[in-house]
Symmetry: C2
DNA sequence: CAATTTATTTTGATAATCAAATTATATTTA
DNA sequence: TAAATATAATTTGATTATCAAAATAAATTG
């Protein structure tokens, strides 16, 4: 097998595994009632912020209708609060509750932990190599991603 | 910014976008009637192979009920064929049609492009090192997060 | 102030998924 | 070998995530 094929195979496997790990860590952790996509909504709202529905939907690349139902559920579960803006009464502001912030932090910690444990294995030369390759992929995606 | 933060940032962006980009490349290409999950089924069946439902479902980490409906749709769209095994009549074998193989190859090309971009500016020694580094990370994750 | 634009929600639909029940066939065992 | 058990796949009934288009409400503009 060529290097290219090997790299492809490992990247595909790593990607699938990381998604799997993230989902399972969620489901077996303290926030077992959150799906990955719900966690991504929480992650996007972020701590100490009050965001509008449309900005959040745009960031997450979903329609505002989709976000409305997602937020309905997150409110039911106690992770998010919603209020109408007083300056512009068309606008709805959302922010995390304390429980939401805890979930945010847990997820952040998970990410930190994942990256730290991956990088711990590497010497500085390997680390640079990895960053270079990841950046290359990032550039490739940004290039492809103009629709 | 520390290496950790850089890596984390790139990873988050990559993970947020990769499925999206892959799907959009599909939809704007010759196989606009395939979703990304359908393409992953096609990818898993692979060319020149005849696979059983259960093996494929296991590989894809979905239940066999889920795969049954996925295969129903792929047959309707003309990408897959299904026949009962003669040796064991409980077993169902699936394989790609010619159209399915074309889709497989188109998807393969997308991945090839990705890897070529990823490996840009790397000499063959660095390629080898990268393979080692990625494999280590994969093995490490599987050890650390086993459920 | 009427028309238009903007922000959000609602509605009605489809994909992907699961667990549990069902069907058909094969294997084991008493 | 007939009955019990196991296996492979499908069907059923449900949920979640998603979209486009219609509806609602508020702000802006001409």
């Amino acid at each position: 097998m060529s290097n290219h094929e090997t790299v492809n195979e490992i990247l595909v496997r790593l990607f699938a595994n990381i998604l799997d790990i993230e989902e399972k860590c969620l489901r077996t952790g303290n926030f077992f009632d959150l799906s990955i996509s719900e966690m991504h909504v929480i992650d996007n709202i972020g701590v100490n912020k009050e965001r509008t529905m449309s900005d959040t939907a745009k960031d997450l690349k979903v329609t505002s209708g989709t976000l409305t139902t997602a937020i309905d559920n997150l409110i039911k579960k106690g992770y998010v609060e919603r209020r109408r803006s007083v300056e512009d009464r068309r606008v709805v502001k959302i922010k995390l509750t304390d429980k939401g912030m805890e979930a945010f932090k847990a997820h952040e910690d998970f990410h930190k932990d994942l990256v730290i444990s991956a990088l711990q294995q590497l010497d500085s030369k390997e680390e640079e190599l990895l960053i270079k390759v990841l950046s290359n992929i990032d550039v490739f995606f940004n290039h492809k991603y103009k629709f």
